[in-house]
Amino acid sequence: MRVSSAEETIQRLIFSLSELEQLGQTLISGHSNFNVSSKTYLRITLGTLQASGGAIYCFHPSDNHLTLAASTPESEMSPIEIEQTEVETLLECSLIALDTPPESLQQFIDRNAELMDGNVKHRLWVPLKIHDEFLGILSLSGLFGRAKFEEWEQELLNILAHQISIAIAYSRIVEGIQSEKFRLFMLAESAPQICQLLQPEDAAEQVVHQAVALLDANVGGLMLIQQAQQKLELRYIFPPTLLISEEAGEDDKETLSISLDSDESETSESDVKTSLDMLAGVVKEGKTNRCFTKADNLFGGRNLMAGPIQGRDGDILGVLVVGDKEERGGRTAEFTDEDEVLIDSFAKQAGVAIENAHLHQEALEARQLQTEMEEARKIQENLIPDTLPDIPGYEVAGHYEPRGPVGGDYFDCIELVAGGWGLAIADVSGKGMQAALLMATLRAGLLSELSSARGRESDESVDMKNELIDMAMTLNSLLYVSGTEEKYATFFYSHLNPDTDILTTLNGGHNPPIIVKNGGSIVWLGEDVGGLPLGMFPNDMVPLIAKYEAEQTKLESGDLVIFYTDGVTETVNIDDEFYDEERLEQIAKKSHGGDAPSICNLIYESVMDFQGDADQFDDLTLLVLRKK
C-alpha cells in the first residue's frame, strides 16, 4: 500500500510538473488576456489538485469589486463589493478553509455565500496576490476521495495560485501598456487629422470624438467663448442624444450657454458644485479641472473633466469637456492626474485645429466677399456712361472715381424721347453686390420711367414738377421693395429743356448741387426742397415725413451747374478734415469761365490735392453742366 501511494504521489507530481509547464506556456504564449486564459488556468489547477470544482474571482481595486473570471462547473455572478478591511485580511492569509474562516471575513462570506456559490460548493479559498497587491481569489470545492489536502498538495496549490496571480498581473500590465500605447497613438494621430479639417463644425465634432475615445469617456462636448456676449456656447456634444434629454429642448440655445460674466464665474475649488461652475472656472483660470456633480443642466449628473482650449497666442478659446470615464466591465472610473495631463495636451492640439478651421472659414468668407466686390464693381462700372452726349447750347462733363470697397455712385445724362435731357446722380447706401444690384435697379427704373411718359414737354398739360414727383414716388416704391431698410439711394434728378433753358430739379436726400451764376454768385439747388432718399420708407409714409418737391431754375449763358456725391465733400486729408462744401464753393467760383471738362478736372484735382496721402473709402463722382 505504501508503495502504491508513493507511486500515485509520484505520478501526480509528474502530472503537476507537466501542467505547470503548460501554465508557463499559457503565460508566455501571447494569450495575455486573463479573460480568455482564466478557464485554462482553472482547468489545469483543478486537474493538478484533483478538485471537483472551483472558481477564479478577479479583484478590481478602482471600485473594490470582485468579478467571476472562470468557474467549473460554469456559472454566472454579478460583481460583488468587498470592504478594504476584508481585502487586508485576505492579503494576510495563504489558505482559508471556509468552514473556519478568519473572524474578519465571516461577514463577507455570509453576505455573499449565495452569490458566490452558484454551481460550485466552495470549501477553500486561496487569495491571489503579488507582494501587497490583492488580485483575486482562487476557490476550490470538494476533493476526489479525500477529506483534505496533503501538505505537498497545499504547497502545490500555493505555486499554482502564484502562477495565476502572475497571469492576472501580467494581463493587467499588458492591458495597461496596450491602453497607454493606444492613447499615445491616438494623441499623435489625432493632431494632424483634426488640423486637416477646414470646417469649424467638422473640427468641433472630431475634437470631441477623439477626446471621448482618448479618455475612455462616454460623453463629451466642446464649448467656445462668444466674446461679444461673454458666454461659453456649446458647439458640439457627444452623444448628440444628450441634447434631446434637455428639459428646454434642443433648440433652446440659452440652455447651452454659460455666462462668463465676472460675478457669475467667480469660483474657487470649493465652490465647484456644478459643471457650469467648473467650466467657467476652467476659462477663468486657464487650467484643467474635474468635478462630480448631480446638479447640472448641461451634461447631467456626471463625472466630468474639462480642459482649456487655447489659441496660438495663448488666448482661451473655449473648453473641452469629457465625462463618464469607463473601465472594463461597465464600471465608472474617476479621471486621474494622468488623464488631466492627457486632456491638457490634446486640448492644445484641438485649439490649433479649431483656430485653423476658423481662420480658413474667415479666409473663405473674405475671398467670397472679394469676388463679390469684383463682380459688383463690374456691374457698377457698366452702369456709368463711358461718354456723355452733346447737348445743344450746353457743355457737359463727368468724372467717376471708385475708391475703396464698391460703394454705389451713379450718374447719367440721358436724351429723352419726348425731348429734353435728364441728368441724374445718385449714391446707393452700403457696399458690395447688394449696393450694385440696387443701383442697377434704380437705373433700370429711371430709364423705364424716362422712356414712358416723363418729359413730354410738348404736351402743355403736363406739369414737369409733378412729373418728377410722380417719378420719385415710383422709384421710391421700386427701391423700397427691392432692398432692406438699410438699403436706399440718395438721388438728384434734373430735367433740362435746352429750348427754354429751364432746369427742373428734384432732390431725394442728395447733396445739393451748386449753380455758379455767370456773375459769380452761388445758388445751392434743392437745399430747401429736399425729399427723402429713395427706398428708405414706403410710399404711404413719405408724405408724412418729407414729401418730394421739385423746383425750377432758368439757366443763363455762362451759368455752371455742379452735381457731385458725398465722396467729394467728405474727402478727408491726413489731418482728418473734410473737403466740405466751402472748399467746393471756392473752387467752383475759381473755375468759373472755363469749359465743362476743364472745370470738372479742376475740381477733381483740387480734391486730390486736399486728400494727399490720406486713405479714402467712398467713391467720388462729379457731373458738370455749363450753358454756353
Binding site: N33, N35, R328
Partner: protein, 114 residues
C-alpha cells in the same frame, strides 16, 4: 454620429459576420464579445467584424477586440476585419491587431480571404 449601440449577426455555414454600429466602448464591446464567444462556442472559427458603422473606438473596445482574437486563436480560428477608417486601420496596425487578424476593405473581400 449617434451613439446607437447595435450588433447585427449574419451567420452562414462556414463563417459569421458581426456588424457593429456606434461607439465601440465597454458597452458595445461586451455585447460584441458575448456574441463572438457564443459563435465560437457553436463552432464558428471564421469570423468577420464589420466596423463600417463604428467611427469611434476606445481602448476598452480595442482590448475586447484583442480578447476575441485570442479566443479565436485558441480554436485555431481566423478573424478578419472590414469597413475600417484609415485611422482605425493605422491604429490596428500600431496595436499589432493586424498581425493576428486580417484587414480588408469590405465584407465580401474579408469573407473571400478566409
Amino acid at each position: 454620429m449617434a451613439n446607437k449601440l447595435d450588433i447585427q449577426i449574419r451567420a452562414e455555414r462556414q463563417y459569421a459576420v458581426l456588424e457593429t454600429a456606434g461607439y465601440l466602448n465597454d458597452a458595445l464591446g461586451e455585447k460584441l464579445s458575448k456574441k463572438a464567444l457564443e459563435l465560437i462556442e457553436k463552432g464558428y472559427t471564421q469570423l468577420v467584424i464589420n466596423l463600417d458603422k463604428t467611427a469611434l473606438i476606445n481602448s476598452i473596445g480595442i482590448s475586447i477586440l484583442i480578447e476575441i482574437i485570442e479566443a479565436l486563436e485558441e480554436r485555431e480560428g481566423t478573424l478578419n476585419f472590414c469597413g475600417l477608417s484609415a485611422t482605425q486601420e493605422r491604429t490596428f496596425r500600431m496595436m499589432a491587431i493586424a498581425k493576428y487578424a486580417g484587414i480588408f476593405p469590405d465584407e465580401k473581400t474579408a469573407i473571400a480571404n478566409f
